[in-house]
Symmetry: C2
């Protein structure tokens, strides 16, 4: 996320061609993830040409989004103050808890419409290389819920990566003695995927997890 290179580039080459407010905006946009120097430029000029009202709406949305948000006291998802929409929906299955890494995972799972239980957002994965330990995640809150709520199954739905595996193992060890069934998402071939292009590990997992048919 360092932006020295391209900034220098603007400063040295385009300096006389770029008005300072434009250069400042490009710099700011370039700090965002996935926004390279060219995209930042294109976005900046788009914003400059935008109708006043729309530009102000976007600025307000960015400036105010943090103020109006907090964490749902139950599932820890980012939400407006109070219980989030999922947690306050009594029609959902209160006995199943899906543990995910971050808020976007909740959005993905909700879009798939395949789960009707509740969520718990960890806000990260155990990752010793980046100095993220269990205490940096919302694991304490998860354990408290297992005690307070009628949870019968905890589905660990973290990414199938090294950090995800480590976190899943750690959670399993913590959760099993507390009673609920602990499961995790199936690993195997992605739907629409091609056996020929599947990596060895995915193939091995797909074989391991083969199902009666």
């Amino acid at each position: 996320m360092t932006s020295f290179g391209p900034q220098e580039e603007w400063r040295s080459a385009g300096s006389s061609a770029l008005a300072p407010p434009v250069a400042r905006l490009i710099e700011q946009l370039h700090k965002l993830p996935g926004i390279g120097p060219k995209t930042a430029q294109r976005l900046a000029y788009y914003l400059i040409r935008m109708p006043d009202r729309e530009a102000r709406e976007l600025a307000d949305a960015i400036g105010s989004v943090k103020e109006s948000l907090g964490f749902c006291p139950r599932c820890q998802n980012i939400a407006a103050p109070g219980l989030c929409g999922v947690c306050s929906d009594s029609a959902r299955d209160q006995t199943r808890l899906c543990v995910v890494q971050e808020p976007l995972d909740v959005v993905s799972l909700e879009r798939a419409s395949a789960f009707n239980g509740l969520y718990h957002v960890l806000h990260g994965l155990i990752d010793p290389m980046s100095n993220v330990g269990p205490d940096d995640l919302r694991i304490r809150e998860l354990l408290r819920r297992i005690g307070d709520e009628p949870v019968q199954e905890v589905i660990i739905a973290v990414n199938p990566t090294v950090e995800g595996e480590a976190t899943a193992m750690y959670l399993r060890q913590l959760l099993r003695p507390l009673g609920p069934r602990v499961t995790r998402l199936a690993r195997g071939l992605p739907v629409g995927g091609d056996l020929e292009y599947a990596d060895d590990l995915t193939l091995a997992r797909a074989l391991e997890g083969r199902q009666d048919f």
Copy 2:
């Protein structure tokens, strides 16, 4: 730039998972060019996690950029009030004028450090299909400069597209009777390009424009 589809998608599927301020921010970000629904989501959560100060800086940069900008009265580039950096630089060659479509083109040419004259920004190309005629561009301002300034050469540096060609032809007809030499950027194989993959028109232009060696 319509955003109905994806918005509906969030509304129907992720509605309970997304706090309204987050949904609003995703909607706003998704309106930007090149920002799809997934990127908008990723950006939104990144902005939410950003330190307060940085998020406010970005919001300010977007909200205020238009207020502090106008058009350089000479070259029509977007700039802070008064003459832009290029136009006010007396060390630049005042006899050569490079005509471009938009401000970003000036940035690109300045970065290449291959031109030391002045610019003129048209803010568009003649495009009858989109109802853009000569009067919608800064052509009147260009003609006034040819009269007022010691211009000896006008380099037409528009994109080699249908609209670019049409605009170039139109400008040539207007400019020739006024005296200055009218040139345009060479067309040919891009540096580092591969003859095998060049399209027919590019090859034809490269042959037409072949140079003694």
